[in-house]
Symmetry: C2
Subunit: 398 residues, 2 copies
């Protein structure tokens, strides 16, 4: 993330307010636009969704957003009507301090499910958050730290696009280590840009980019109650709303930025030692390709053999076989890190030591499935499954 | 498994023939009926299915079966045309020794995928297997041992039913620790009875019982290439085919026996410390209830918190929420070992230490979801997820 990618007209802050027990661990984050910004949102499909998700759903898409306030350490999920009041209060406190309307503030929360927010900590947190807002890289990184839960590291990505109306900047942050961590929860992301976008364009661009990025990753496939991706576009960089080629360029760049950001999540999956990159080609439809990729990517037997650098391709082939997609098994080819292991219904002779060594040496292991059904493809990214994941998620929390 | 449950007119054997490296570990099993028996079969839904599954599919249902030969240590899956020949050879060798037709023999295999069967070991194995056939309990248990792979313990169940035509006996054996184990594979089961059943009744009874038993369990949801359940009914106990009440009684008893057998599989799941018993009630349809139960049961986050005796009900509620079934969240009640934790969209006050203690003290943890949508229900059984599972399945095998 380079300073030059920071969009103009935004300020950020992040600090520790006491929701997490470790005082070195930031748990409050603020993003503020100097002027009214177009806002778009994409949310969890879980029926049981958190109070801040309900709040954001009612405020997006929109044209007058000014701020995103995020807390980590508590998801404010399964908290009933009091949870809704607390989320509204978080927005109202920030709004009062900034002199704006409560409805101009979006809220994200991540952390433990089923406990009420400690508002006595969040009220002073807002004052400190607003007081420490700044526009430089350090403030942006503080803000990106403030949304983390069990993540090993901060997740940011940025980009610059040249348009006919001048340079546009995109800076994004995300969190997520398990879809729901041990006590913690959720994938959250905030994308800021100084591009001038209409409300419709912003929502379309975000939806399309999320489909190609965050919707293609998993750690363990457990859809959270709080998943939220927000886009704020304040238009400072362009005098008129972008259209045509300019819009396409910005759209492509948002997509690239979100893919870069999304891949950091399974790479940093709880206890993960490999990113697993799964490419399915030659399918009759995109839906078929994605179904096979997701079935392989959610198999614990595949995830454990990748963790063990074991080229146990039978587990991968059999996962493809129970994906619920019809295909001719004779036409299936299976490659691991580029080496062909299974073709025409029979095992290929291969140097197991060599394949294993290549897995051990890669941070990212590539599984390729080639079918003989058509020309459609899909790609997903997931984490391997290690004992560290289980230890992490078995810890008694209550 | 009591000796009195052993059906008449059957003999069994099991021994070590060298497919598994541990010479104390039986890997060959034989079941023989003295006379032609009705045979029924239920198989894996995986597109990529093993050679012995293809062989059995072509021979069931039928009326002239005489034997089931099973090997463990090698699944004979993904082995192309040579695999088919090898499975046929296994049946033919047993048939020649017994003086019957090859088509009267069924074959099951379980073990590593993608390697050819070592026929030089299986040919002498058949001679030894046929030579040591006997009709007592010891021989039955030898046979039940011979089908195991990574199982910690033998899995058997038996029952007796009184019919108007005299006593009928049912004895069944199964294997399965992971749906696909580390090097090993599959759930296999063989059910023997001396009931006199028509081919149609046998197939119906088996299908119905499998739906209520083996189709309700999982370890990690990875459908194997080799899953097979066979029923042999040789009719020795009754002079005429059973009908009416007699048939219903036998059907109910086969179902009870298979449920008893099936629950032993996740209880002995690789590394498992708890059986997880998931009951969903009040659903609009049975399919909805099962979908929710299976989504909860396949969540690693649920499985790890049960392993850790952590009453982290947020993970359970959120898994219900992303199951893809519409329901009113306000009407959901969630109980863990009988204690109410979540109701009306809000957490219930509960003694976390007490719930945790009750989990720690139970071999089987009961998750109950009550919806307010209708009167349908479903029940499934699965394993918790421990570090031992991951260690077991990450071991480099090739």
């Amino acid at each position: 993330m380079k300073e030059e990618c920071l969009p103009q007209g935004f300020s950020w802050s992040g600090h520790h307010c006491g929701l997490k027990s470790d005082s070195n661990s930031p748990d409050y984050s603020l993003i503020v636009s100097d002027r009214d910004a177009v806002v778009a949102g994409v949310y969890t499909q879980n029926l049981i969704c958190a109070a801040p998700v309900n709040l954001c759903r009612s405020r997006t898409p929109g044209t007058q957003a000014r701020a995103i306030v995020t807390n980590s350490g508590n998801a404010n999920a399964c908290t009933g009507s009091r949870g809704i009041q607390d989320a509204q209060q978080m927005a109202a406190d920030v709004a009062a301090l900034l002199g704006i309307e409560a409805e101009q503030v979006l809220v994200m929360s991540t952390g433990i499910i089923g406990e009420f927010l400690p508002m006595e900590k969040l009220i002073p947190a807002s004052a400190e958050g607003v007081g420490s807002l700044a526009s430089g890289l350090e403030a942006f990184l503080d803000s990106a730290n403030g949304i983390l839960t069990t993540d090993q590291g901060r997740k940011t990505a940025g980009s610059i696009v040249e348009t006919s109306q001048g340079i546009v900047r995109i800076a994004a942050m995300a969190k997520g280590a398990g879809m729901i961590g041990p006590n913690m929860a959720t994938m959250l992301a905030a994308v800021t840009t100084d591009a001038n976008l209409s409300q419709e364009s912003a929502q379309q661009i975000l939806k399309r980019a999320v489909d190609k990025s965050f919707n293609c990753i998993s750690v363990e496939g457990h859809t959270s109650t709080n998943d939220t991706v927000l886009l704020l576009a304040n238009g400072v960089a362009n005098s008129l709303p972008l259209t045509g080629d300019d819009l396409d360029k910005v759209s492509a760049e948002v997509e690239k930025t979100l893919i870069q950001l999304a891949k950091q999540i399974p790479a940093d999956g709880e206890g993960a030692t490999h990113l697993i990159d799964i490419l399915v080609q030659g399918a009759a439809s995109k839906a078929d390709a994605k179904q096979i990729a997701e079935t392989i990517g959610s198999s614990n037997l595949v995830k454990t053999c990748i963790a063990g650098n074991d080229p146990n391709w039978g587990r991968i082939a059999s996962a493809a076989g129970y994906a619920g997609v019809q295909f001719n098994v004779q036409g299936l080819k299976l490659r691991l890190n580029g080496m062909l292991l299974f073709e025409g219904g029979e095992p290929c002779p291969f140097d197991a030591e060599k394949v294993s060594k290549s897995m051990a040496e890669s941070e990212s292991v590539l599984i390729e499935i080639e079918l003989d059904e058509g020309a459609e493809e899909a790609r997903i990214w997931t984490s391997d499954l290690t004992t560290a994941y289980v230890v992490f998620n078995s810890d008694y929390h209550t």
